[in-house]
Amino acid sequence: MELLECIHIYKDYDKKQVLKDINLKIPRGKIIGLLGKNGMGKTTLIKLINDLLTPTSGKILINGESIGINSKKIISYLPERTYLDKSMTIKETLKYFEDFYDNFDTKKAKKLIKDLDLEIDTKISKMSKGMQEKLQLILVMSRNALLYILDEPLGGVDPATRDYILDTILNNFNEDASVIISTHLISDIERILDEVIFIDKGKIILASDADKLREKENGSIDEIFRRMFKC
């Protein structure tokens, strides 16, 4: 059974069609890049999978079931914009996650936070932007989920933070789970991807194994993407 399946998904905002006939199958144990320029439908698709929006038509199955309470338990989602309460300390935030999610591994989160030399009593508002990004990723990756969905995890971070984020994704993903990473910063992330999905103007243009695509098109994923969309 596929971990995630999107069947003929359409999404309209008023009269504007933002997603057109999205068909997608995501197996277990893979890191998948959802790649596209800004405004092409990546975040809309992610919000549909997370039940934050409802499709105009079509069906989404998670682990064979329609979206609902069960799917929310097995999806760990990192939104594009921060959602943490900055007046809280790290400790309070951990407690909040522990209360909210049955599958939150506090021990793991604490260890990762310690590795960053962060004091658990620090207020989030007192942390640098890079540290806040790292903390959010730690919280998301510390859930024992089956599907991790990371929306633009590299937006505006420095190269050292980027490396940390890639390492943390690699270190914390297991063969039963899959990770979907949405980004327009392809060259930064393509090394860790199993599969790539190109999305443009609300449609899936291409879905392929990353290495096979490099072999076939004789170039990096980033270059192939640029060739295709001339950006």
């Binding site: 144990g29 893979k30 890191i31 890639l166 390492d167 690699l170 270190n171 063969e175 060259s187 393509e190 090394r191 860790i192 991807l193 199993d194 990353a210 290495d211 096979k212 490099r214 072999e215 004789n218 170039g219 990096s220 994923i221 980033d222 270059e223």
Partner: protein, 120 residues
């Protein structure tokens, strides 16, 4: 293990090449047990699936073998290792000679340069 990758080529092929060099140069010794797929992936900062694919290819080439339930080991077949060494040596030599010829050197001049290697 410090691997550098070029995004323009399949990552698993580059992993195979770089692991081959580790093996034939003896950095990973003949008969030595390899770390787990996951540990190797973490060390080289690649996706475990990509590492798995690279190891499968090395196993096809007989440079490593799997001992059931025990893990993967580097071959003890010295002849095979020598064969790979020879293949690499020929490739490197050919590349060097071609580059020298492009610079306008003939064979005997190239040989003269090889003889003075200790001064370089």
């Amino acid at each position: 293990m410090n691997f550098i990758f070029d995004n323009n080529r399949p990552i698993y092929i580059q992993l195979v090449e770089q692991l081959e060099i580790y093996i034939i140069s003896g950095k990973i010794k003949s008969g030595e047990k390899l770390p787990s797929v996951r540990d190797l992936a973490l060390k080289t900062k690649v996706n475990p699936n990509t590492m798995q694919k690279a190891l499968a290819e090395l196993e096809n080439l007989k440079l490593i073998y799997t001992e059931r339930t025990n893990g993967k080991y580097v071959t003890k077949d010295k002849k095979l290792l020598d064969k790979f060494k020879d293949k690499y040596a020929k490739e490197k030599t050919k590349k060097y000679i071609n580059e020298m010829k492009e610079l306008g050197f003939n064979n005997s001049e190239i040989i003269d340069y090889l003889k003075i290697k200790e001064d370089i």
